[in-house]
């Protein structure tokens, strides 16, 4: 699945709009922009395992939550903030590689259930290990004594930075041997092994890639909010939302996951503001409609129109 020029254009425009919000919008909009960038990074990460490889992973919140906690624990131990983020990224990457070697033996629905269990197990371990994580009381992080606008702007650019790095990684993987191999695994795993692809190693690489940007975003999020607890860090809702975002935009494409995340967060904001009682229900209906009528994601609308008008899709 190749992204067309329109997708690149939308992607560039989207990032530009997010990056320029501090120039003309209030803090609420800048905060929303930072959230869009964060979910964009999470969905783009998920794309490695879910989009390219076709493994329906629901581990996003586990990697995000572990990133929160590793970052927070490091910062509380006196490690400078950005170094703490890097340590969190590295440690969660190693964790994902080790876990992946076990859990990626499962396929299809079994893998989906296994990956969602990882989130719950992580949450339970973190809430029980009070001596290290503060248990259900959560952890406070060193506060950043900056003016609110400056703080918001800083974290907007941090989240945008993580998003851009995840997009660059996607771009490189897409063109390399790894991306080709992952797409082969997606199509037919047995045939992939028969042409000489080390499927286990490739899947572990994809799973690890899907973890590191989530961990970075989690660690940055922890520093941003200044306080984390197990329920907030390991949300089942997040783990479900992120794949929906990626599929909404177009799983397996470069620009799709980010565009889907942007559309999803904006829809959520609109429904949250206008239909306080019904927002979840409306969101549910939107998801069902999308699954039934737009299984290829928003980007496929454009492709479909091109196909109809006779051009090569």
């Amino acid at each position: 699945m190749k992204s067309g020029p329109l997708a690149y254009l939308l992607l560039a425009a989207g990032i530009l709009v997010l990056a320029t919000t501090p120039l003309y919008a209030d803090n609420y909009v800048v905060r929303t922009a930072a959230i869009v960038a964060m979910y964009g990074a999470l969905a783009t990460s998920w794309n490695f395992i879910g989009g390219f490889t076709g493994y329906p992973s629901f581990s996003t919140a586990a990697f995000f939550g572990l990133g929160c906690y590793v970052g927070a624990i490091c910062q509380r131990a006196g490690v400078p903030m950005i170094a703490a983020w890097l340590i969190a990224t590295l440690m969660v990457g190693v964790f994902a590689a080790l876990l992946g070697a076990i859990i990626l033996r499962l396929r299809g629905h079994y893998f989906a259930i296994g990956s969602i269990a990882v989130v719950e197990v992580c949450r339970l371990v973190v809430s029980s290990w009070s001596s290290l994580t503060g248990g259900g009381d959560g952890l406070n992080l060193p506060l950043l004594h900056w003016p609110p606008e400056e703080l918001m702007r800083f974290f907007l650019f941090v989240m945008l930075g993580i998003l851009v790095l995840s997009l660059i990684a996607t771009f490189l993987v897409d063109r390399a041997r790894l991306g080709f191999g992952l797409r082969c695994i997606h199509q037919n795993e047995d045939a992939a092994a028969m042409v000489g692809i080390d499927t286990t190693r490739y899947k572990v690489a994809a799973y690890t890639l899907s973890a590191i940007f989530c961990a970075a975003a989690g660690a940055a999020y922890a520093s941003w909010t200044g306080y984390i607890d197990p329920t907030e860090s390991f949300q089942i809702l997040m783990t479900v939302k992120v794949p929906v975002m990626a599929m909404l935009g177009g799983a397996g494409t470069l620009a799709g996951p980010f565009l889907g995340a942007a559309a999803f967060v904006l829809l959520e904001e609109v429904f949250w503001a206008n239909f306080l009682d019904w927002n979840r229900a409306i969101l549910g209906v939107v998801i069902v409609l999308l699954v039934f009528f737009l299984p290829g994601g928003l980007l496929s609308l454009h492709l479909r129109r091109r196909a109809k008008s006779g051009g090569a899709a």
């Binding site: 063109r175 041997r177 082969c184 199509q187 028969m194 000489g196």
Partner: protein
């Protein structure tokens, strides 16, 4: 019944057995392939032919016995290792990457199994093997759109792009009509002319006899015959295995009577 099992055999099986629980799929199978040889493997349904291929390419691990490829024991290898060593196969039921184009399918073979240095190189190798099997005009079609005969050719192109030393063709002619079979036969012959060792697993006697001078016969998981094709076809046990005892006896009577 004997083969020249000299030391330079490219593939050598020695006492290979495979059991699934209580079921013996292969019992003490031994044979050797010389480099450049074209050998037919025949046997009735359920004789264990596909199991044998699966054991050689690492899809199944043998319960006992050894498999030597270029003198190295490869019984414990994984499928992707077999592919990289030069042990390629086609599947009885074709296994394309359905959403990818024909060219991309073959590129995968060249890139991962054929040792291409880059995706671009792999694409060039893929074009060469598509030309070779005559699929070049369909290069940009999704594999899922091909008719069966073209899909079988795609399988061949994919395994050729892997630069195999030994190619195992599992019923590449099943489901083809007779003119398509003639086309496939010409293709297999030209593959063999490139020096690739070919093991043809077949149901159709006509196909095997026209391609290979040597036949292996598998029956109930045992190698019951191994030798020159003409002798094997006249072998009583082979006729029995294929046609049943009663018919074989009748045939014998007629010959003698």
């Amino acid at each position: 019944m004997s083969t020249s099992t000299t030391g330079d055999a490219i593939l050598k099986l020695d006492g290979v057995s495979k059991t699934f629980g209580g079921l013996k799929a292969l019992t003490d199978v031994s044979f050797a392939l010389q480099p450049g040889e074209v050998v037919g493997l025949i046997g009735p349904n359920g004789a264990g032919k596909t199991t044998l291929v699966n054991v050689v390419t690492g899809n199944l691990r043998p319960s006992s016995g050894s498999i030597l490829f270029e003198g190295k024991d490869v019984a414990a290898q994984k499928p992707h290792e077999a592919a990289r060593r030069g042990l390629a196969r086609t599947f009885q039921i074709v296994q394309p990457f359905p959403q990818m184009t024909v060219l991309e399918n073959v590129t995968a073979g060249a890139l991962f199994g054929g040792g291409a240095a880059s995706v671009g190189d792999a694409r060039d190798m893929a074009r060469t093997s598509l030309d070779f099997v005559g699929l070049a005009p369909l290069a940009d079609r999704p594999a899922a759109q091909l008719a069966l005969a073209a899909r079988k050719r795609l399988e061949l192109a994919k395994s050729l792009a892997m630069n195999p030393k030994v190619l195992m063709l599992d019923e590449v002619n099943a489901g083809l009509n007779s003119s398509e079979i003639d086309g496939a036969l010409a293709l297999i012959r030209s593959i063999a002319e490139r020096g690739v060792t070919v093991l043809i697993i077949e149901h159709l006697m006509k196909v095997v006899l026209s391609l290979s001078k040597r036949l292996l016969v598998l029956h109930h998981g045992q190698m019951i015959a191994d030798g020159p094709s003409r002798e094997i076809v006249a072998d009583e046990r082979v006729i029995e295995a294929y046609l049943g005892q009663k018919y074989a006896a009748k045939l014998k009577e007629r010959h003698h009577g």
